[in-house]
């Protein structure tokens, strides 16, 4: 066994060396967001009335349950802080370890770089263990920063420590999930798909369990971390569930590693067609073919998510009845119920649109990966011009975003229809969801602009996604300056259905998106193409 682990520490050092820019960015970016929020929340809820108001309204709202679960001690400043922070912190730490693990294991193997390392004195399990070590280190850093920020904000010591510990263990657990995923799939993209789905499922299951206040929360790592009851009646034994799950997943990853070939996965690559289909002969056909898999994955995932959200809408009035506090706070009338449903819908529509910017940016940045891999060179050495090559990819990104947004609207309506037996909401839902499309397209347009003008800085497109995510989750709570809010294109759009539909901001943003894309195209037409 020891020989199978040989070289782990050297590999870990190499990992740290390679990520000497990326790791600090993650830590400062994610840790900073969490710390900023944790330090700001106590200033916002600075009186007994505000605390009680929060517990009765925001803290007991269906949106809050779905997004952040049922937080212990929700009528204390510690509980409120944890509730506000947890969405960014929990999802952030899980996504971070997922990207890190895949980047340093399967992506290395896929590129062939790992082969060179494997030929040196390096054990079979060294890569897995180094990936785990790296994830543990980064999760500890994020957990530590969170606890430190909470302590600095003057929150309860036991609560702060418990919360940070839960967050760290959650991250390590999903690192183990990612380590299994990289054994299953032969491509980094596929591994990210599997691990990402696992994160989404865990998050969704916890949210639904919290909303309906049932045992479903016990089926999610997110639930286990939360059930440690930080800032409430703290208990440590749910941490054991996280630890046991992590150990089990690691054992599975080790078993799979030992039973597969280098470069192989559990799924053997299938044979394909010896001839190209009729559609695969233009740059658009190629772009569509290359993105087909990821578009289908996103479509299924977001449709399913929307359907789940749609199906819980009918339970919102029950929630009001079962919780007199919240009814008292917002007024228990039919109008108030409708207002609650609208607020829920607004949040869901916005949240899903923000999530879909992930597709838009990864789709546009295909331009970069095609260029860097040298595959763009093969295409551009044929009769395809740069403009057509860029336009084809961007067209697929734009059309893909449109399809996703429409599917999310349909999914909401289908979920709602299944719950209520009412099917007349379909067109309205799709229309309401579409009002958020311009925001998605602006983010996509920004990605085209950076890829065209600042190819080496194309990570900036992901930075914008992170800022948009942060602003959407925490902008209102933290009362960010408008200048910061204004960075997010979604901030300028009307909050449908709470606010009425106003086409002007959307049209302006469409123009902005097109201008940004044209700017990127201009950049592409005049610069050198990178080559390997």
């Amino acid at each position: 066994m020891s020989s199978a682990l040989t070289g782990t520490s050297r590999l870990l050092r190499l990992t740290l060396r390679r990520d000497r820019i990326q790791l600090p960015l993650w830590i400062v970016g994610l840790g900073g967001m969490i710390a900023l929020s944790a330090l700001a929340v106590p200033g916002v809820y600075n009186s007994a009335e505000k605390l009680a108001g929060y517990a009765a309204s925001v803290g007991a709202s269906p949106v809050s349950y779905l997004m952040s679960g049922r937080q212990a001690g929700i009528d204390t400043i510690g509980g409120i802080t944890a509730n506000e922070v947890s969405q960014v912190a929990q999802l952030g730490v899980c996504l971070m370890v997922m990207f890190q693990v895949v980047r340093h294991t399967r992506a290395e193997e896929e590129s062939g770089r790992a082969e060179l390392l494997r030929s040196t004195v390096l054990g079979r399990h060294a890569a897995t263990l180094a990936g785990l070590g790296y994830a543990v280190l980064t999760a500890l850093l994020i957990g530590g920063i969170t606890t430190a920020a909470m302590l600095a904000a003057g929150l309860d010591t036991t609560g702060s420590l418990t919360y940070g510990a839960g967050l760290t263990l959650l991250g390590i657990c999903y690192a183990a999930v990612a380590l299994v995923a990289v054994q299953l799939s032969t491509s980094a993209r596929g591994a990210l798909g599997i691990a990402g789905t696992a994160i989404a499922l865990g998050y969704l299951v916890r949210g639904l369990g919290a909303m309906q206040d049932n045992a479903l929360v016990w089926f999610s790592p997110f639930g286990w971390a939360q059930l440690m009851n930080a800032f409430g009646d703290e208990r440590l034994w749910p941490a054991m569930l996280l630890a046991v799950a992590t150990a089990g997943l690691l054992a599975l990853a080790a078993y799979l590693t030992a039973h597969r070939d280098y470069g192989g996965g559990l799924l053997q690559p299938r044979r394909g067609h010896p001839r190209a289909s009729r559609t695969l002969g233009t740059s658009f056909g190629l772009a569509l073919r290359l993105q087909r898999g990821s578009l289908i994955g996103w479509a299924i995932g977001l449709f399913f998510l929307a359907m789940v959200y749609g199906s819980v809408i009918p339970t919102i009035p029950d929630l009001v009845e079962s919780n007199p506090d919240i009814g008292q706070f917002i007024g228990a009338s039919a109008d108030a119920e409708q207002a609650l449903v609208d607020a829920f819908l607004r949040y869901i529509l916005l949240f899903m649109a923000v999530v879909s910017t992930g597709f838009a940016v990864s789709s546009v940045l295909r331009l970069r990966s095609e260029e860097e891999s040298g595959r763009a060179e093969a295409v551009l050495a044929t009769g395809v011009s740069r403009s057509r090559w860029v336009t084809a990819t961007v067209a697929v990104s734009g059309l893909g975003s449109l399809i996703l947004v429409m599917l999310m609207g349909i999914g909401l309506a289908v979920g709602y229809g299944l719950g209520m037996g009412e099917w007349d909401q379909m067109l309205g839902q799709v229309g309401e969801q579409l009002t958020y499309l311009p925001g998605v397209l602006v983010v996509a347009g920004f990605a085209v602009a950076v890829a065209g003008l600042l190819p080496r800085r194309s990570m900036l497109a992901w930075v914008l996604v992170a800022v948009v995510f942060f602003q959407t989750m925490l902008g209102e709570t933290l009362r960010l300056p408008n200048a910061v809010d204004a960075i997010s294109p979604f901030w300028h759009l009307p909050g449908v259905p709470v606010e009425p539909i106003d086409p002007i901001p959307g049209l302006v943003e469409l123009l902005l998106a097109v201008s940004l894309a044209l700017l990127g195209l201009w950049g592409y037409r005049r610069r050198d193409l990178a080559s390997n």
Binding site: G272, H273, R275, G281, L380, T382, G383
Partner: protein
Amino acid sequence: MLRGMTLAIQLSNVVKTFGAVRALDGLDLDVRVGEVHGFLGPNGAGKSTAMRVLLGLLRRDSGSARMLGRDPWKEAADLHRRIAYVPGDVSLWPNLTGGEVIDLLGRMRGGLDEKKRADLLERFELDPGKKARTYSKGNRQKVAVVAAFASHAELYLLDEPTSGLDPLMEAEFQRCVHEAKAEGATALLSSHILAEAEALSDRISIIRNGVVVQSGTLAELRHLTRTTVIAETAAPATRIGDVPGVHNPQVQDGRVFFDVDSDHLDGAVAALSALGVRSLTAHPPTLEELFLRQYGEDVATVANGDVA
């Protein structure tokens, strides 16, 4: 189509810098219509940069470039319908099959010859139904070669096209180039496999540090350099070094070794014959020696080492 045009490629004084590095430093290159032009140089000399300038992937800083009579940067897409390109390091879409890539690139270039496609797949023993992810380096290379030669291009840009191919496949590749040439096509072949360049090229340009240092037919290039002579003479050839054009003479056991400038071969042979020649071998410089002479600082040592 090429009426009145004698040069398929004409680069003059092309400069391309990457930051402080001058990858092309006033490159001049003429490739005549219908010829296979060998483009030789060590790693990092600027061969691929020149190819990428010709493909319109890189924008030259200064100098003029014409390919098939047009500007390779401004008219890239139109030009590319008439050319085919094989890079030395082929990267393919992992989830597309080799057959799909060949069709795709062929269609994007404006169509391919079905018969030739089938013929080439057979000759290169390539399985077109496998995903590119599962191809070895050599097989990826074959995909690019088949895709290039399955269309009838006017000009082939071949950038170390046989890297990773086994000797049998390399021979097949050489046949492809001969066939294309017989159809009247032009090729620019960058290589550091000198035997390949020697076998295929009508003319050769040697590039170093972004400048072409030597250009001409193999015979012309040889003429510019030295022939190695080994002779056994009746009288010792101790004074052969005095003959103009003779270099590095060494006398050993009645045998003499020396290099002689090709222009002075006549005089050297006359001097030897006056001493009574018993045996004589003279060999013209191989491309290898030409190459080393252009690059190596210690050419003389290497050449002598070969002889001894």
